[in-house]
């Protein structure tokens, strides 16, 4: 079946008016089909603040260049009331923000009126005019406001954005004065022509009767204006878009507003198909009605033609034929990629290359690659490097490949793929994505960590030595992200609690090598067993120096090797426990073993894997102890035994030092 996401990839929410903007970024609608759309006021909607700001700023800079500072100060000093001065006339505020009002509005109005009448500089004169409108509005003196605006000289800086604001006030005042039709007409102008506040036109366009509607249609100067009225009705979520589209098409099928609405409806229909809980019967009726419209519309417009083909395929699940050669090719490819069941990388490569040739520059080019990668991720072998790379390519705007867990085998496969001669087009895509660039240091680091995880500390050391020197600068070292080339711990990895220290990767590995050597000679040394176990425990995901033993630590996921070194540590803790008679020491070891028991139990029941972040946050949340930790404890007989054993050492300093800890409370 044809992929049903070709018009929009993501879900949507919020105001209907913004959907258009959100979804237009990810679709298979050629820019050429909506080429004039840069002027679409619905784009402005989502960028309203910044656009307004930019416009005002530009405007201010322009006017400022024509004024001397003294002149500005002189104007400001005309106002004796400091509050008013600062809120209205402090020129930066006046220009950058909409003024806020303080004090008595009637007094403000008087001051503004004087200023307006006496002001010689056009820029300020117009600003005062706008402010007067605003105050009239706040005083509900709409008649006076209308009269005042009617009296304004429209030649005064006639291209100024301030006229947009004034005209919005004007339309609003007319509506308050019950001149609904005239107000609606002006709001339609606000919507279709304003840069800064077109959304006002949408929200305030209001017609309530057939008489008003007919009168409004009569006011239209041309067909395009009539079409905008319909468009404004159509974007009200309670109204029937398709009916409005039909009416608009009957006026001028080639209007850009028809295209805009056609596209919006297509997106809505796709939403209904993909996500909506609409009943099947209603869903079919909605699609059929739209198809009926498209079948009549398609011959005059490539957009309609393409949509017709798309929805036909979606409905009939068969390849559809359309008149446009270019878009037929697109549909063919989308149909092909959606229906492919067996991986043939060469064939996909050729077909993808061919279609990309047709759509070289548009957003379609980018989205064709993404949709292909999405499909490939389902065709590649599970957990294979290529599958990982395909996922990564698809999501590469969000993730850096190196942020994902990568082991030495993946690393080698990646390098192999990179060096492979005669790569397919797809393979090139997989490998050349900017975020997959693997630098030499990074390869060395992966190798050093990989050997560390296999407890091959000598091999690990050989690689670690090839990495740049670590300076005692935490900000250099503690960067798990892109710049991560250096590893060190700010904790002492041989202590069981958090102890400030600074161990470089090399220092850590050297110590582990030494301890390993000592244990070969003295396998029953309690202290050496304990220190070695601490090293293993602390280089794990749970340890105080995990940066030395894992590639990447995520707050939301457990990635890679996180249990092996813990299990290895357990062996050495048990050795240490067997070989000591010191009660303090025993208490410490038992407590470590209890921690390991808990981690093992969590691993067994898969709690971490399913919802690691939530589970861990609950683990640290004492209130949730009963719900989340208690079952783990009950599950682990080993833990229970260790806890029982620990009670023998209640008199030790260590026991007493931990018994107040919240974390210890879990273990009771």
């Amino acid at each position: 079946m044809l992929n049903s996401y070709i018009l929009a990839c993501g879900g949507s929410s919020g105001a209907e008016i913004s959907i258009y903007k959100i979804q237009i970024d990810k679709n298979f609608i050629d820019e050429a089909l909506l080429k004039e759309d840069i002027k679409n006021p619905m784009y402005y909607y989502s960028n309203i603040k910044s656009r307004t700001y930019i416009n005002r700023k530009e405007y201010f800079l322009k006017i400022k260049s024509t004024l001397e500072d003294k002149e500005l100060d002189k104007i400001l000093n005309n106002f004796k009331d400091k509050n008013i001065q600062s809120s209205f006339f402090k020129y930066r505020d006046v220009i950058y923000k909409t003024p806020s009002y303080h004090g008595n509005l009637n007094n403000n109005l008087k001051i503004l009126k004087d200023s307006y009448e006496n002001e010689m500089i056009a820029f300020f004169k117009l600003r005062y005019a706008h402010m007067m409108c605003s105050v009239y509005h706040n005083l509900h003196r709409y008649k006076d406001e209308i009269k005042f605006i009617d009296s304004l000289d429209r030649n005064l800086l006639k291209n100024s954005i301030v006229w947009e604001w004034i005209d919005s006030f004007y339309a609003g005042a007319l509506r308050h004065e019950k001149q609904y039709v005239k107000a609606a007409y002006l709001f339609s102008k606000v919507f279709s022509t304003h840069i800064s506040d077109s959304y006002v036109g949408y929200y305030d366009f209001l017609i309530k009767t057939d008489e008003q509607w007919n009168e409004l249609l009569k006011m239209a100067q041309n067909d395009e204006e009539k079409i905008v009225f319909h468009f404004l009705r159509s974007i009200n979520p309670k109204n029937n878009k398709l009916e409005e589209l039909k009416l608009m098409t009957s006026i001028n099928k080639d209007s850009i507003w028809v295209k805009r609405l056609l596209f919006t409806i297509s997106q809505n229909i796709q939403e209904i198909i993909n996500y909506n809980d609409t009943k099947e019967e209603s869903k079919n009726k909605i699609i059929n009605d739209f198809m009926q419209y498209l079948s009549e519309y398609k011959s005059t417009n490539e957009l309609g033609d393409f949509l017709y083909g798309y929805f036909m395929q979606l409905q009939t699940k068969k390849l559809s034929t359309i008149e446009s050669v270019k878009y037929q090719k697109l549909l063919d490819y989308l149909y092909y990629i959606s229906n492919i069941k067996k991986l043939n990388e060469k064939e996909i490569s050729t077909k993808l290359q061919n279609i990309l040739e047709v759509f070289k520059t548009s957003n379609i080019n980018k989205n064709l690659k993404l949709i292909t990668m999405d499909k490939l991720s389902t065709l590649y072998e599970e957990y294979s490097l290529k599958q990982e790379l395909a996922y990564f390519y698809r999501d590469h705007y969000q993730y850096d490949f190196r942020m994902r867990y990568i082991n030495i085998d993946d690393m080698n496969n990646l390098l192999k793929l990179k060096n492979k001669p005669n790569k397919t087009y797809i393979e090139n895509l997989l490998i050349t994505s900017p975020a997959v660039k693997i630098e030499k240091d990074y390869i060395v680091l992966i190798k050093s960590i990989d050997h560390t995880q296999k407890f091959e500390f000598k091999k690990a050391l050989a690689f670690a030595k090839q990495l740049p020197d670590v300076k005692q600068n935490f900000s250099d070292v503690y960067d798990w992200g892109k710049k991560n080339r250096k590893r060190a711990s700010r904790e002492n990895p041989f202590k069981i609690d958090y102890h400030r220290g600074f161990y470089t990767q090399i220092e850590f590995l050297n110590t582990m090598i030494k301890l390993k050597e000592v244990l070969k000679v003295k396998p029953n040394s309690a202290t050496d067993n304990f220190l070695y176990a601490n090293g293993l425990y602390n280089m794990s995901f749970y340890g105080n120096s995990s940066m030395l033993g894992i590639m990447y630590k995520s707050s939301t996921a457990i990635i890679g090797n996180y249990i092996q070194s813990i299990l290895e540590a357990k062996k050495y803790y048990n050795n240490a426990l067997k070989n000591t008679n010191d009660d303090e020491f025993k208490a410490k070891i038992l407590y470590q073993l209890m921690k390991i028991d808990l981690i093992e139990t969590m691993d067994e029941i898969g709690a971490y894997k399913e919802d690691s972040y939530n589970y861990r946050s609950k683990y640290y949340d004492y209130i949730n102890y009963k719900k989340f930790v208690k079952p783990l404890i009950e599950h682990s007989t080993s833990y229970q035994q260790h806890y029982y054993d620990l009670q023998e050492y209640k008199k030790t300093k260590y026991y007493n030092s931990i018994k107040q800890c919240v974390s210890f409370e879990y273990f009771k």
Partner: protein
């Protein structure tokens, strides 16, 4: 139905429901209430509308004594809003009766009931509205700690469903909630006077138009079955834009429906409060008195 059941029904109809002493009253639900000062029936006026984000006080120039009603949106109890304080600051403590209207749920029950206890200790007499589901599922929703309740016998169906027969008053639907009736509290009855139209497009509710009756239907509609009509022409209807093909369902109430509602009530009540005063223009108040 066997003879025994018939006798039981006669018995219920005879002893339960309306009696000669039943009085009628009206709810006013507008934010700006406009009640004529010569209106002779008791009034229940919504004086406060409390939600999570807002508190709206009614402005009212009505000079006669009336029972203030406080509407509290259920979600308001999910916030830290001090609802008791708002009520106590608005309604004087010497008020004869205060009524509370809240569609509480098990999740807000504790807070709502605690609030009602506070109110009970501050006012002489408090009552609360009770919805049908709160009668049927009283074990889950609990019995509010008030002196008496008012059963709201309206809005008993699925608001959004195209298949709903009559959202305002569907006696068959209402009866489902009243089988095996028992409620450990004195109840009065609230009945609807209002009407509305629900507009469906592709079987989906798209808008509701208030205060529409079948008599408002004109040539732009085609009667389908029962209370449903198809829109024949795109046009503005009572300030609402309707499109060709839309289906509207008109939910209205007749005197006969009110009478039947009263007849099937399986409990005694002293008072019927009609919702709402602003719809009274469409009714003959004497007929309501006779019910």
């Amino acid at each position: 139905m066997n003879i025994l059941n018939k006798l039981l029904l006669v018995f219920i109809l005879f002893f339960a429901g309306c009696n000669d002493d039943t009085t009628i009253a009206f709810y006013s639900w507008k934010t700006k209430c406009k009640i004529k000062n010569d209106f002779k029936y008791p009034m229940y006026i919504k004086v406060l509308d409390i939600s999570k984000s807002s508190t709206i006080k009614t402005s009212c120039k009505y000079k006669k004594p009336y029972t203030p009603v406080v509407y509290i949106d259920n979600n308001a109890f999910k916030s830290n809003k001090n609802i008791s304080k708002i009520v106590l600051n608005t309604i004087p403590k010497n008020t004869k009766e205060v009524q509370f209207d809240c569609d509480w749920t098990p999740s807000t029950q504790k807070k709502y009931f605690k609030f009602l206890k506070t109110m009970k200790s501050n006012y002489k007499y408090i009552s609360a509205t009770i919805r049908l589901h709160q009668i049927k599922y009283k074990k889950t929703t609990g019995i509010p700690p008030v002196h008496s309740g008012v059963l709201m016998f309206y809005n008993m169906s699925d608001f959004k469903s195209f298949d709903t027969r009559n959202y305002v008053l569907d006696i068959k639907e209402g009866q489902k909630y009243l089988t095996k009736f028992s409620y450990p509290m004195k109840l009065d009855l609230a009945l609807p006077l209002y009407s509305m139209a629900s507009v469906f497009r592709y079987n989906k509710l798209v808008k509701v138009i208030d205060d529409i009756k079948a008599k408002d239907i004109n040539k732009n509609f085609l009667k389908l079955k029962a209370n449903k009509y198809e829109v024949l022409k795109t046009h503005y209807f009572k300030t609402n834009l309707l499109y060709k093909g839309d289906i509207i369902r008109i939910d209205e109430v007749t005197v006969a429906m009110l009478k039947k509602s009263i007849d099937i009530m399986p409990f005694d009540f002293d008072k019927i409060i009609y919702f709402r005063y602003s719809n009274l223009k469409d009714w003959d108040i004497k007929e309501l008195e006779k019910l």
